[in-house]
Symmetry: none
Subunit: 185 residues, 4 copies
């Protein structure tokens, strides 16, 4: 079906050039369909982006959840969450970047709200894991937001200076931060 081709093409293009730099023409070209086809499947650019985020996050949360279940110790669980998030970020860096940060720009209001909701849900998803790991419940979402942003920043830095930084450092710094928050002095 061309809907999938479009979603995938859009993910590629957004991840490569960002939301605004990617034109509908380019997405159509990349997907190998006519421009009008985009509008047959999605009401507009913003809603396409929204669908892409929603459907992507669903897969991601499912993956993380199932991987965590296999782990025994708390430490392993946290390490898995970190590892999977970093993996995903490094693979879809630009898209993840948009998801975490760039949202507020020129996206249509309704779709923007939907994406924000998606983001809140993901933050809550991470927060729940942190709470289970021992963080005070009322601080969970904030800590999760901080964790994800930090990851975002570390990965960005890593991608632009991969010669100076090793991948392990990212995981280690994140792990240190998280455990610091878990058992505050």
């Amino acid at each position: 079906m061309s809907r999938n081709k479009i979603i995938e093409a859009a993910a590629r293009m957004f991840s490569r050039s960002g939301y605004h730099r990617t034109s509908m023409d380019e997405i159509a070209l990349e997907a190998g369909v006519a421009k009008g086809t985009l509008y047959y499947h999605f009401p507009g650019k913003a809603q396409m982006f929204q669908a892409l985020i929603t459907e992507g996050l669903q897969k991601i949360t499912e993956t993380i959840r199932s991987e965590i279940d296999r782990d025994r110790s708390l430490r392993e669980q946290i390490e898995t969450v970190i590892r999977l998030n970093v993996d995903l970020y490094l693979e879809y860096s630009e898209l993840a970047h948009i998801f975490f940060n760039e949202i507020s720009n020129g996206i249509e209001e309704e779709a923007l709200l939907a994406v924000r909701k998606e983001r809140s849900a993901y933050i809550q998803f991470i927060a729940d894991i942190l709470v289970e790991a021992g963080i005070p419940p009322e601080e969970g979402p904030l800590a999760a937001a901080g964790f994800l942003s930090m990851m975002n920043g570390l990965c960005s830095y890593y991608l632009s200076r991969s010669n100076e930084v090793k991948r392990e450092q990212i995981d280690r710094l994140l792990y240190a931060s998280v455990t610091a928050v878990l058992s505050p002095t």
Copy 2:
């Protein structure tokens, strides 16, 4: 002089609506000058943004440096760095957001590089403080990048949910993270 009026107007508008949502017309209107005047003082929008960032950061680094000098203990210095950064972020949130994240969009290459350089310099500036505070030198920049991003995320979250979160929590979480990195287990 018009130049200052423009810089200030641009800072206000960018901070209010973001880089792309702010048009040159709006900046001219806000500054109370004609559109052409913008191009008399700056080669283009990107360069105006760059000037704004450069000049703003100069003031900021100076402020932080002088405030730190007054502190005695290491702990006080770190707390000051955190406090000042959070203060600035909360005041110029959107602008800070752009500075830390949104850079990759549709900004002209050359100016983009210049802004990235500024950002690297600021990260290095924070890194130097962290190194002085005990972090291994080769990890300074990455840790600083992580710290700034985390602050970014925490403040964003705080701004959108100020009823659920207290300002103190931000500082505390940041402090915990930083110290965790300073003395890894």
Copy 3:
């Protein structure tokens, strides 16, 4: 049969939103058929409009003719023509409006000509009645065109200002105009 459902749906939609504001999607939706079905029954939008007009007018002229036959006096006949025309206009205002005026827009040439022909025929139909009522034959069509347009304008005005105008005024003004033309000073 689908064809009828489509014609009726189209009449409703055109009457509600006008020819151009009504999309083929909307007609299909209103008719409860798939979009492709429209093109199974009609070569295109314009031809659908044309069919709608042709078939509608046939019913209308038959109605008027049979109603007139029952009347005895000239005065009654004229009053009946006026009353029926106004009734129809007020019921299918937008459609009637299109029929009388809006034809010249973006309708395909051939269908446009067909609709114009229908309109001429209807004008001639009214003209014949007027001639029978005493108007000079060479002036019949022009007078009929004037009569129909006037009705059009009066009804439009009435529909937009129904609180200021009474339905009877329309009929009265039309009657006065017609009789003035019948027996010029």
Copy 4:
């Protein structure tokens, strides 16, 4: 100034092809300016149309008013109003047609209201003249609307069948109608 060139070009194009059939590209081409220039002078197509109508009507009402003042008898005044309106209609037929009828289509709400207001004002302007000539005040606007629509229809018919109809017939029919309304039986 190019604003005038644009208004004139738009009047020509709208008058030739109607509002919807005329694209902004065509107007720009006809005016000899770049497309963007249209948007420098007008917020959009609808507002351009609105400006065109407003400014045109101003000239027209002024012309009619000054010409009427020279006439002595009531009869002359009415004849003048008829003559000038018909003249104008025949010169800018399509534009006048749009002004009187096509308004309701795909024009932006706000501009649409403005044009409707303009039309109401013009109807009132004609109504005032009719009232002065003896028509009951509460019937003035309706009669004026009827008069203008009739003129519209007669002129349209004349333009499409100029070989069958003489210009004088239009004026005569209109005069007969008006006087019939002035002194109802």
